[in-house]
Symmetry: C2
Subunit: 612 residues, 2 copies
């Protein structure tokens, strides 16, 4: 499009942003107006996208990292003919696809944004897919705010994109000088941003973000830059075009006071229809399956760490499924994800110690149809918890595997122990949470988790645990295993992972004391096996849960979720890690935390002796 | 000390690192050996520290961000005469203060480390305290690994320290080229680090980290650099000094195979006692109380957002207590923390949108005796979850205030809704979790939380809620309020925050239907009011919990924690946010999530009608 038209389009995007916020009575028009010219030139002259076919493999990707500028994004969709004005004006209303911050309920939105500093790391994942997995020429455009440059996750992304030489990634930084509550750290010091980003091996271009010609040239320069990603640092004005809000503090996140006047000041309503460039005709390829799924098999009686079983299984899954990729946070030797690397190096990605970028990249990749396995220590997924939370809003399918769970890791101490991971992952909407106790089980769950939607979490154990199931046993997600059961059971012991083995030992000892105890392996914490737990409650009336996790939000709470519908609830005793651990051997740790067989026996004796 | 002695000291620190790991049978000697010369010169010639008086206000602060190099740290303590060899060799053993990763169980350790990328952000908090709160000349030395430079949190710290011109902060980057599983991203490209760090307005010095003279000069240069923090980028060798491990892959995190040979190769055991420089004689000052605590008072019947009450209360607490400081993540206008800023600007800190640095700085400040209030949206504390987890290991006292909780925020949509925060914060060891429903309650809890130890979390509400308590009412932490009660109650409704008001309305409607319902305001979720809940269970036999949070780990689980000791458990129905919300008004959100009065009435009717 010609520059005069693009200038008009910029005004249209502003007018529509004002209209949307006015109709909603809330929203962020001023943050939209600063970037309107940047987006007008992008959609008019550079973006390649077929709005009729959002799944077209040749489509570019446009990510609004500053998700609060959703009025601008929806104005683009409208100008592209993808949204009718009627729907456009449902912005922020109940039932509308046009949410306050963009989500993939709209087919043109890749990922939910709104928690700042996430769009660029997602873009890195998508751009990496383009280069190393899809081998497709799409480009990834990420509109960033200047405020969010303070987030460390953005610098994880700059670092990784520079390192991977992602010249298919373009960051557009809308430097409008004003954050939510006042000036940003660097205000209009474009060079402060540019020299930081350049130091991370990016190409940078500094422009006036309201100069249509300069914007157009900058995009062309970005597209012709080879071997480096490009950041366009654009000086803009928040609220640009309406004097009462332009470059003024206190105008963040609210509709303009007089929308009609503002629209008139912007030259009135326009109805330009933008002929967005189409994507190139491309043929996507996906690596074929290299063979059937042949999971590792372990012999009952042997001792094998579930992390090892995970590693061998994920390598096997990678052989059977061409769509599986693996992402490591510089601990692949410990998590055993490196077993995947040995067999499928082309689908293995090293993110070094940058857990936010690690998880974000997986979100970007799954958006391109890949099925990612992401692994680090259970404790260190807490570093990426906001990304996991946001991934659930994106309805992203991720396999997260947290190793080194609980006090059972032993001497390394509490900083390395996942003791909050079950609580955190269970609280994520739509998540699946698995915690195998045995190598054959771990292997099967590793394969099964990839078939689920949403966030799937598998917790693995550092040390060896006895193999108690034959390789032929099956472990449906949402199920459990009753290890011991008679009609005379007076108490039920429920464990998972390391604590299951303590529960089995406790049951053996209790049997000798004449207290028959049922034992349940609760390998699926979410969804939980409601029926088996209820039966156990009816028969034995008393439950003891034992978990290598803090008492809040883990296995004990998972069990109680089976009784949250008003039915009678059994008596319960909950054994969990209630003190701050220090260094000690694994066995000492279990003992000191009161989650070993001794503690279970004592609790069971006491509970079984009580009146019902 | 002379350079020859320092060289010997470096060897001693290596030998002792090897000895400690050998005695433990685990640990990270090679990561210790790379930084031994750096630390020898620091402790011999530059660190000012009285090991007899770890609380001396003039002491420098030494933070091992690479916490796995704990053998080196403990070797320093031993060389300084603070640890006897007998205790030194208890490294990683049960009951020892010498944990696998350092914790403040040792009086010379400020903060627990071991989750990488955290030491520098903590150091920023301590250095800021020195400059702007303590007005003391101590210096903060942070030993960083090269692998952890990949963590975004490190770049949040570089950015903030550069911005605040913290020339009392020195980062020492031990570039030993090898991470856990292989080479780091930049290996020995010192300039890759230096130009990134310089771009963030630091002074940098690149040296050979085994050249005693160069190290000594670099520290002197750092100490004479004014107006900028300094980073010393040191090229080192992992496992330096022992040929079988020096600069070799696969030698991370394990004792040396033949410790005796290695010690011989290092020249044998030494017993140098290092006369560490003493701290300057200083007089710490603390702002005096400006008056008694005069909390805001709200009139029953008015409607006031609890976030407003928090804001007014924290300003009042700041007046009464000179030790209180406030830290904002660029949302102070929304969280109302800015009310503190208006009255106490000298104790208010803006961290922009960098939640990891935000929380870390508070940890650094509380370590200096300050009592920090830290506020952002409830949802965005998930960004700092690993820092909160680690802060609990440091036994740090922090007041965290999460605003904009739950679906009740309305149109902004799920990215802005704290729906996992209660689960995450409850799962932190030793935490306190509060959720007021009324402005007077919020004000009192705001003041009371500062008196607790550990992590204190207060959840506030965006919209106005009715004031239901007189200003004279008291709200002990660990208590609750019974709002309605008779001996004939057939069901108990338990809410907090916005849902309490829905429960009250539901009780009114149920009373008209002839179903008397008890109502409990569970403003303290952890600790929870066990006695009141048990009484309600005994009298009514049936509980309904209702919470603006996902069903896992929140209020419903907090209630059940009162029944986890084997006593009879009441029947329960748990209303919570079980679907993914989108944009809608607050009232629509509560309705759609099934947590409004309508939903409570329906659930209570059903539950009260069941057989006991």
């Amino acid at each position: 499009m010609r520059h005069q038209q693009l200038s008009e389009l910029g005004q249209q995007l502003r007018v529509d942003s004002v209209r949307a916020a006015a109709a909603a009575g809330s929203g962020h028009p001023t943050s939209s107006m600063s970037a309107a010219d940047l987006m007008a030139v992008l959609m008019g002259n550079h973006l390649r996208y077929d709005f009729e076919q959002p799944e077209h493999p040749g489509n570019d990707h446009l990510i609004f990292s500053k998700g609060h500028a959703s009025p601008l994004l929806y104005s683009i969709y409208k100008a592209a003919g993808a949204l009718r004005d009627e729907e456009f004006l449902t912005f922020r209303k109940r039932g509308s696809r046009l949410e306050g911050h963009p989500t993939p309920r709209l087919p043109w939105v890749d990922v939910a944004t709104g928690s700042l500093g996430q769009g660029l790391p997602y873009g890195v994942g998508t751009a990496l897919s383009g280069k190393r997995l899809d081998h497709l020429p799409y480009r990834v455009w990420v509109l960033c705010g200047d405020s969010e440059m303070a987030e460390g996750s953005v610098w994880e992304a700059f670092e990784h994109a520079g390192y991977e030489r992602l010249d298919n990634l373009i960051a557009i930084v809308d430097v409008n000088r004003l954050g939510q509550r006042g000036p940003t750290r660097h205000e209009w010091d474009l060079d402060a941003y540019a020299r930081r980003i350049r130091a991370f091996d990016w190409h940078t271009v500094e422009i006036d973000g309201h100069d249509i010609e300069a914007i157009d040239r900058a995009y062309a320069e970005a597209l012709s830059t080879v071997g480096r990603p490009t950041a366009i640092i654009a000086r803009t004005m928040k609220g640009r075009g309406v004097a009462s809000v332009e470059n003024r503090e206190g105008m963040h996140g609210k509709p303009l006071k007089n929308a009609e006047e503002a629209i008139a000041e912007l030259g009135g309503v326009r109805n330009l229809a933008v002929p967005v460039l189409g994507p190139p005709s491309v043929t996507p390829t996906r690596p074929p399956s290299e063979g059937p799924l042949v999971l590792p098999r372990y012999n009952p009686g042997d001792s094998v760490p579930t992390r090892d079983a995970f590693g061998e299984a994920v390598a096997a899954v990678g052989t059977a499924r061409g769509d599986v990729v693996a992402l490591d946070g510089e601990v692949g030797d410990s998590t055993r994800l490196e077993y995947f690397h040995k067999e499928h190096p082309e689908r293995y990605f090293e993110f070094f110690i940058a857990e936010q970028q690690l998880v974000a990249a997986a979100v970007g990749m799954q958006n391109r149809g890949w099925n990612p396995y992401v692994s680090t220590f259970a404790a260190f997924f807490t570093r990426a918890y906001d990304f996991i939370r946001m991934a659930s809003i994106s309805d992203a399918g991720l396999n997260l595997i947290g190793s080194h769970a609980g006090v059972a890791i032993g001497e390394d101490g509490p900083s390395q122990m996942g003791l909050e991971d079950l609580a955190a992952l269970r609280a994520v909407h739509g998540s699946t949470v698995l915690y195998p106790s045995d190598a054959n089980q771990a292997a099967q769950l590793t394969a099964a988790m990839a078939e689920r939607s949403g966030i799937r979490y598998l917790r693995t154990t550092r040390g060896a645990t006895p193999v108690i199931y034959p390789p032929s046993e099956t472990f449906p997600i949402g199920g459990s295993k009753v290890i011991r059961a008679t009609e005379d059971d007076r108490v039920t012991l429920i464990g998972a992972g390391v604590t299951l083995h303590e529960a089995i030992e406790a049951a053996d000892r209790l049997a000798q004391e004449g207290i028959p105890a049922r034992v349940i392996d609760l390998y699926s914490l979410k969804p939980v096996d409601v029926e088996t737990l209820r039966t156990a409650a009816e028969v034995t009336g008393r439950l003891i849960t034992v978990e290598d996790h803090h008492p809040e939000g883990g296995l004990g709470d998972a069990v109680l979720a089976a009784f949250g519908d008003g039915r009678p609830v059994p008596r319960m005793v909950r054994l969990a890690v209630r003190t701050m651990p220090a260094s000690a051997t694994p066995a000492e740790q279990l003992h000191d935390a009161g989650i070993d067989a001794d503690a279970i026996v004592a609790a069971a004796r006491d509970l079984a002796g009580r009146d019902s």
